[in-house]
């Protein structure tokens, strides 16, 4: 399962990489268009923003899989290893709970807005939300696998 997580994480990272380069291109083209052709484009700006939202939600589960989220570990580092394991299980169950909650939340949003289009690109929200849903699904899976690891006292190196 961990191999699957890492492989999927790599795919997510590659897609995010495309979004990052596209974001850079959009902002650059916007500067050129405005300064040299006197015509800024709201479509490019919207596309850049969509890229940003997408890459963040796609990378969040990758950070979970690689255990790279920003945490304050100063206090838990002083705990005995047994207590730390209990904390780890609690942390993973809370993270899993949050992922499920977010999935439920986006389901509610999509039920209401799936056919609404974005203001500039006229792109249906359902397309806009695909990377977010994928990211949250992967986040739920990642936290669930780590929760099982914590319960079984298994340590998986990131």
């Amino acid at each position: 399962m961990h191999t699957f997580l890492r492989r999927t994480g790599k795919y997510f990272e590659n897609i995010s990489l495309v979004f990052l380069l596209l974001l850079l291109a959009c902002v650059l083209i916007q500067i050129i268009m405005r300064n040299f052709f006197d015509s800024g484009s709201v479509k490019l700006e919207e596309l850049a923003r969509i890229c940003l939202v997408s890459l963040v939600f796609l990378m969040v589960p990758v950070l979970i899989v690689d255990k790279q989220h920003i945490i304050v570990d100063l206090f838990i580092n002083y705990l005995p290893s047994k207590v730390r394991r209990i904390f780890e299980a609690v942390i993973q169950s809370l993270s899993f709970g949050l992922a499920v909650f977010l999935l439920y939340s986006i389901r509610q949003v999509m039920l209401r807005n799936w056919s609404v289009s974005t203001p500039a690109l006229r792109m249906p929200n359902s397309i806009l939300y695909i990377p977010i849903v994928l990211g949250l699904l992967f986040m739920a899976l990642g936290t669930f696998v780590y929760l099982l690891d914590a319960i079984r006292n298994k340590e998986e190196a990131p």
């Binding site: 923003r49 969509i50 950070l63 304050v72 100063l74 909650f101």
Partner: protein, 426 residues
């Protein structure tokens, strides 16, 4: 579920070792469930907070700093700073401070300074027999300057949170940053005389050496000039400066032939990770701050603060105490997004300028990066120089006092912050 309970739960979760973003998301989710508010608000708020033009600057500046560090630009900036102040006693410590200021003029992030420039600076200083902890301490202290000198990611994020002009904020940071640099250089000069630190460069530079350093460093040195000129003349916005910086860094990287395609992709991947870890905190902080607003916590804080005093100086002392304490525990971005809507309204009512407060806030939080228990710069340096965190915290303490003195000047002499933007933008 009251605002105080939400904050307490957040603090408990953060101390328990939950990722900062989730420590904010979980109390917000619970709040929605307990209060019967539609759960769709959660994702809507999170997405809306990221769907913002100013935030595009975050990945762009992170990428620019990564490119500079892996393509030899940082090395050239260091050499250039050495040419400027290397001949002084304790020259490499002075170079450390000046190089941080120049780097700050391009990158906009403190940790990028520590991670990139810090390596080169500490390496050079330890070769000249500076104690490792002393070298790390100067690096940590000088990195604090970065986020108040334009361009700056925290100031842009504050601008978005406070609905204040990012341009004014960025210009407002220039003089405070220079004051901090001067005070740090004076302190280093004092230490150099007392501890008999060597000169950074023993021999005087020959004319051909000066020309060589200038030739190597000038294209990199032009970067802050291009950025500032472009921003002030209106060719590009503070956010767009990020894209220009990345493009210029790519061009220089190819010019210097020190960056391969593989290296470029590594920078991009590192950028993705850093961006996501910062921006998911932004998204979570948005819904967290929203729950506090619904609970009318900002209004309650306003009433309490204005009951204590209506004097802006007294309120700024209170704000400084809150911000310094927050900076010790909370990540900068999260602190800006959560505390701006709480602290800014009473300060504005008392007559404090939001641009002035923005610089004060960011500087306070940056000082938090070198104070225990969560001084991120110190942790990063500890892994770089392989020294216990405690040793670096101890070595950085004298600089902490200088930074506090700078903070007092920035806080209580608003002209230091406001004179330049008022002059340039009116």
């Amino acid at each position: 579920m009251s605002g105080v309970m939400i904050i307490l739960l957040f603090l408990v979760l953060i101390m328990a070792g939950l990722p900062i973003a989730f420590s904010m998301g979980i109390p917000a989710a619970l709040y929605l469930l307990v209060e019967g508010i539609p759960v769709s608000v959660m994702v809507q708020r999170m997405v809306a907070s990221l769907n913002s033009f100013p935030l595009l600057a975050v990945p762009l500046f992170i990428m620019a700093a990564g490119l500079m560090n892996s393509s030899g630009i940082t090395n050239r900036l260091f050499e250039f700073a050495k040419l400027l102040v290397g001949r002084l006693k304790g020259g490499l410590a002075q170079v450390n401070i000046v190089a941080s200021l120049i780097f700050a003029g391009i990158s906009g992030a403190a940790l990028a300074d520590v991670g990139g420039l810090g390596n080169i600076e500490i390496d050079a200083m330890t070769k000249q027999k500076y104690p490792k902890d002393a070298a790390a301490a100067v690096t940590a202290a000088s990195a604090v300057v970065g986020p108040i000198f334009p361009p700056s990611i925290p100031l842009i994020i504050y601008g978005a949170a406070a609905e204040t002009s990012s341009m004014r904020l960025l210009i407002a940071g220039v003089i405070p940053a220079l004051i901090v640099v001067v005070l740090l250089m004076l302190q280093v000069g004092y230490f150099a005389a007392k501890r008999n630190y060597p000169r950074g460069v023993e021999e005087k530079y020959t004319r051909s050496q000066i020309i060589e350093v200038l030739k190597r460093g000038l294209p990199a040195m032009m970067m802050p000039v291009i950025l500032m000129t472009g921003m002030l003349s209106g060719y590009f916005s503070p956010t767009e400066v990020g894209a220009i910086t990345v493009t210029y860094a790519i061009i220089l990287s190819f010019m210097y032939k020190e960056l391969s395609v593989k290296g470029f992709l590594k920078v991009c991947r590192d950028t993705l990770r850093s961006t996501a870890s910062v921006l998911i905190i932004v998204a979570s902080a948005a819904i967290f701050a929203w729950t506090l607003t619904v609970e009318q916590l900002p209004q309650q804080v306003s009433v309490i603060m204005l009951t204590i005093s209506e004097n802006p100086f007294v309120l700024l002392i209170l704000a400084n105490i809150v911000l310094l304490t927050a900076g010790m525990f909370i990540e900068t971005t999260a602190a800006i997004l959560v505390l701006t809507p709480i602290l800014l309204p009473p300060l504005i009512m008392a007559g404090v300028n939001p641009v002035h407060f923005g610089v004060v806030m960011v500087f306070n939080l940056m000082i938090g990066m070198i104070t225990p228990p969560v001084g991120m710069s110190v942790y990063m340096l500890s892994s770089l120089v392989k020294l216990p965190v405690g040793n670096i915290f101890k070595a950085v303490t004298p600089y902490f006092i200088t930074l506090l003195l700078s903070l007092l000047i920035i806080t209580y002499v608003p002209q230091v912050t406001l004179w330049l933007p008022n002059m340039m933008m009116n």
